[in-house]
Symmetry: C2
Subunit: 158 residues, 2 copies
């Protein structure tokens, strides 16, 4: 029922039954988009942040002081996106930058009090939101879903 299949296709007829709704890249994108919407609205409305910005905020909130490079390695986001997100967060006093005097190419990033506050607030929202999303499923289903998604995502370090 959910398999992707094409009916016998006469070369002339457009008798076509490709199941777009079950094509995994399409389906994954739809699910990702829909299930990001409500959370996106919150960090956008409440803090004027973009997706890249909350991600950087969360990385610093969770793992603490680190460089942009490390954020890039963990998140697989491109360095230009990170650079601009860090600039925005610094401008809004959510983080501080400190040059590494041992290797002056590096900059240590660290959340300010305001940054940690924003992080804790959004973390709380995220926890509730994740719970709400997962509540559509049985615990086993939710567990399976996360496992399969991890596999698809190519086993990010996690």
């Amino acid at each position: 029922m959910s398999k992707i299949s094409i009916s016998e296709l006469g070369e002339a007829g457009t008798a076509d039954e490709f199941d777009l709704q079950n094509f995994l890249p399409y389906l994954l994108n739809q699910a990702a988009e829909v299930s990001s919407l409500a959370f996106q609205k919150i960090y956008k409305d409440r803090y004027g942040m973009l997706r890249t910005e909350w991600r950087v905020l969360f990385h610093l909130g969770i793992y603490g002081r680190m460089t942009a490079k490390e954020i890039g390695d963990r998140s697989k986001m491109h360095k230009t996106k990170i650079s601009r997100a860090v600039a925005k967060l610094a401008e809004r006093r959510f983080l501080t930058r400190e040059r590494d005097e041992a290797d002056r190419r590096l900059e240590f990033l660290e959340l300010t009090a305001a940054g940690r506050k924003a992080y804790r607030d959004l973390r709380e929202v995220a926890l509730e939101y994740d719970l709400e999303l997962a509540s559509q499923f049985s615990p086993e289903e939710a567990e399976t879903l996360r496992r399969l998604l991890h596999k698809l995502a190519g086993n990010m370090d996690g």
Copy 2:
């Protein structure tokens, strides 16, 4: 093990264990991004298309002659994206536009021979690619994955 949870958080300590990798919106986005990459490369390299464009192409390939409005209803894409994708596809002679004389606001869109050829080619790629993605899982797992994603996506008409 994959549940999201926060350890006891002393108000001072940044002893933080929010599990970003298991936060569903984040995880879904990662999985969607990774699993779209190889397919994206193909429709981009081979036909210079964007995501919106192959989606429109597929809608017309699958369902046949229809208006931009109908594509919007089915795909939940915003009408401006569709408008631009249609313009690009028309410019490249992948589809034709025909005004509805009964209601002159409407335009019927239909793939040209070249458009159908591109569609069939990409459909073939998509079928193989979906199979390859799904092959990481047991048939039951793949089935479950699609079912749960449908639920998350808010049960698109599909």
